[in-house]
Amino acid sequence: MPAPPSAEPAASPFIQIRGLHKSFDSQKVLQGIDLDISRGETLVLVGPSGEGKSVLLKHIIGLLHPDAGSIQFDGTSLCGLSERQLAPLRRRIGYLFQNAALFDSLTVAQNVAFPLIEAGIKNPAEIKSRVQEALEVVELDAHTEKMPINLSGGMRKRVGIARAIVGRPEIILYDEPTAGLDPIVTDVIDHLIKRLQKRYHVTSVVITHDIASVFKIADRIVMLKNGIVYFNGNPDQLRHSPDTFIQDFIAGRSGMTS
C-alpha cells in the first residue's frame, strides 16, 4: 500500500533517515527506510514482530551501522563516526531497552545515577535529587537500594525509564516501554511520555504493540512492514485507513477461527 501523504512538518527534521538498509547474514531486515522525525513530536513505531523496529531504533542511536543509507541527527551524519565521536551525540539521547538492560552489579539508584556521573556531574546532592526525582516519576523512589535481580520485570522496565529520562535528553527512544506492565502502570508511562513532551519539549520515538497506548500518545504513527515504511500518518489517518492489513493489525485480527 502506498504511504498516505506525510503528516511531517516542513521544518528541518531533528532526525533524518534516508534509504536505510540493514541485513543480518542473508536476512534483509530494513530495505530502504526513509523517515523524518521532528523536534518535540512523539512518533510511535508499530508493525508486526521481527520487522526491524528495534533495529531502526538502534540505528538512530548508532548502536548499529547501516549497510547503506544515511542517518542525520540534528544535522550531523552518524554514518562513519567512531564510538568516541558518537559519545557526545548519544548523551543527548535517552534509550530504554526492551529488557531494560540494567547493570546487574549496581543498585537501582546507582543505575539511575550512572548517566549523570558519566556526563560529568560531580555534586552528590544534585545527583541524589535528580535520581530521586526520576524514580518518583516511575513510582519507584522507595526501592533505591534494591539490586536489579530483586525487581520484577515491570519494575526493571520502570527503572530503565528512570535511567533514560534522568539525563534530561532531547530525545528518548523507548523500545516497548509498557510490555509486561499492568494497565495502571501502562497508563502512568503513557502519561509520562506525554508529560515529558509537553513540559520539556522532549522528542519521543516509541515502539509498542499496545494499540490503546498508540492512540493515547502518538502525534504520528509509522508502521514498518517488509523492511519499509508501510504507513506514515497521524492517529486519525491510521484509524480510518482503508487498508485491510492495517485494520486487522489495529483490531488484533489474525483471521484464524477456533
Binding site: L63, E83, P88, R90, F103, E118, A119, G167
Partner: protein, 293 residues
Amino acid sequence: MIAPSASTLSPQLPTPQSVSSLRRMDDSSRGPISTLGRAVLNFINYFGQLGILLGEGFESLVKTKPRLHLMMEQIVRIGFGSQVVVIVTGAFTGAVFTAQSYFKFRDFGIESTVGSIVSVSLFRELGPVLTGLMVAGRVGAAMAAEIGTMKVSEQIDALRAMGVHPVDYLAMPRFFAMTISMPLLIAEAVAFGLGASWFVAVLGFGIPSAWFWMHTIDHTNLEDLSYAMIKGLVFGMLIVVISCHQGLSTTNGAVGVGQSTTRAVVFSSLALLVTNFFLTLLLNYIFPMGTIT
C-alpha cells in the same frame, strides 16, 4: 552517506537452494590445504581483533582519565581474591619440587644445595607460569563470563547508548588491575614456595637451615626477580586482553557465554605457555643465567 555495497544492491541474490548447493560443493572440495588456509586466516583474523582491542585500549589510555574506583575494585577481585589459589600453588609447588630435587641430589651428596635450584626455578619458571595459569583459570574465566553476560543481556549496548566506551569502562580497569596485581601475586607465590621449600628441606629432610639459605641466596640474584616480574607483567596483559576480547565478542546467549569462558581460559593458558618460551629466550639474552654474583 555510506556508499551502498555491491551485495546490498545486487538484485539477483542466491536462492536458499543455490546457497545450499554451493555449501555442499565447498565442503566436498575442502581439502587439507583449504582447511589449513582457513585456519591460518582465522588465526590472523583473531590476532587482528586482539590488535584492535589493544589499539582501543591505547586510545583509552591517552584520551580518557583512569577510573580509579573501578581499578581498585578489580585489584581486590584479582589480587585479594586470588590469595588462596596463589598461596596453595606456590607453597605446594615449592614443596614438591624440593622433595623431588632432594631425592636426586642425595645420590650425588649435594642435597644441601636444593634451595638454590628451587629458588631459581620458582623465580624464573614455576612461579610465573603456574601463577599465570591459575590466574588465567580463575580471573580470566570470571572476566569473560561477566563481560560476556553483559554483552548478551545488552548491558554493553546500554553503556554505549549512554556514551560510555566499553573498553574504557570494562577493559581498562581490568588491564591496570591485572598489570599491578600479577607481578605481586607471582612474588607472593615464589615467597610461599621458598617458605614451603624450607619446611620440607630443613624440617622434613634435616638439611641445616643455614646451608639451605646460604645456597639459596648465593644462587638467586636480582635478575631472577626481574625475570619473575617481567613475566608476570606480560602474562597479566595476555590474560586480560584475551579474556576481555572473548567477553566483548560473546554472542548466542548462555551457550555463548559458556563458550567464551572456556575459550578465555584455553587461549590465555596456551598463549601464556607459548609466550613463556620466547620470553625466556629473550630474557636469558638480557639476563644470562650461569653467572654467580
